[in-house]
Symmetry: C2
Subunit: 156 residues, 2 copies
C-alpha cells in the first residue's frame, strides 16, 4: 500500500466507525515499513473515554502490539490533523512522520474543539478558559529530585 | 480533604509509583466535591503506553468510574503542570479546574519534554520537528460531511 492508500484507510475507518455510532468521524493507522501495525478510531462517546481519539487509540494499540513505548520507525496516518492531545501523544511516541487529510479548520466547521485548543494551549496559564493554579511548588519538585537520584530510572 | 491535601496525594503518588519502577515521577487525582474519584500515575515504561501519563490515566479511570465522558464537576490535581497532551485531555474531559504543583520548567530540568512540546505545538505544521504533511484534503472532509448529516450523532 502507498502512503495515500494508508491515508485512505484512515479516512475509511473514520466514516465506518462514525456511522456505526462508535464516536466522532476520525480514523488513524500506524504504519511500519509498508505494513499497518495498528488501526484506531474515535470511541469517546461509546467507551466513555475522552482520550479515546483515533490517534491515541492507534498509538496505544501499536505500542501494545510491538511491545514498546517508542514508535520511531512508524508513520502516523490520520483522517484529520491531530488535536493538541493527539499531537502530544505522537511526539511522546516519537513517530517519524505524520500525514493527515482534513485540517483543524474542517474539524471546527463540524463542531469540534481542535482549533480552539490550538489557540488555548499557548496562552499563559492565568489566561486559560479552564481556571488553573499552581500550589505547593516546592513540594512538587520533590519527586523530580528523587527521579534524578534513581540510578535505574528508564528515561522516555 | 482540602485542595492542598488532594495535591499532596498527587505528589505522593508520583513519588511512590516512580520508586516502584512504574514510570516517570508524576501523579494525579480527580476530585468531585471533596471525594477522590480516581487516581493516576505515570506508567509509560511499565505498560508500553506513551499516553499513560498520570493525568490521562486518572481521567480515563474517573470517566470509567462515573460512566461519563465529561468531568464538568471535577477538579484535576496533578503533581506537575500538565504537558500539552494531558492539558488537551483535561480540556476534552471538561474538568472545571486544574491545580498543579511543579512546573513545566521543573519537568524540563529533570529531562522531560513538556517545555519543548509547549514550544513545538503552536508552530506552523511545516516548522515542526516531526515532519508533517497534508494529503487528500478533499477526501478527508468526507467523514465530516457525513457526521453533520447524521441525525443521531452525539456531540462531545
Amino acid at each position: 500500500m502507498s502512503g495515500d492508500e494508508h491515508l485512505r484507510r484512515a479516512i475509511a475507518l473514520a466514516r465506518e466507525h462514525m456511522e456505526a455510532g462508535h464516536g466522532g468521524p476520525f480514523g488513524a493507522v500506524i504504519v511500519r515499513g509498508s505494513v499497518i501495525v495498528a488501526e484506531g478510531w474515535n470511541q469517546v462517546t461509546s467507551s466513555n473515554d475522552p482520550t479515546a481519539h483515533a490517534e491515541v487509540v492507534a498509538i496505544r494499540r501499536a505500542c501494545a502490539s510491538l511491545e514498546t513505548f517508542s514508535l520511531g520507525e512508524c508513520v502516523l496516518y490520520t483522517s484529520c490533523e491531530p488535536c493538541p492531545m493527539c499531537l502530544g501523544a505522537a511526539y511522546w511516541a516519537g513517530v517519524k512522520q505524520i500525514v493527515f487529510a482534513a485540517s483543524r479548520h474542517d474539524a471546527a466547521a463540524a463542531g469540534f474543539s481542535d482549533e480552539f485548543l490550538y489557540r488555548e494551549l499557548p496562552l499563559e496559564v492565568s489566561q486559560r478558559s479552564i481556571p488553573t493554579i499552581q500550589r505547593l511548588a516546592e513540594e512538587g519538585r520533590g519527586p523530580f529530585d528523587a527521579w534524578m537520584a534513581k540510578e535505574d530510572r528508564i528515561p522516555y
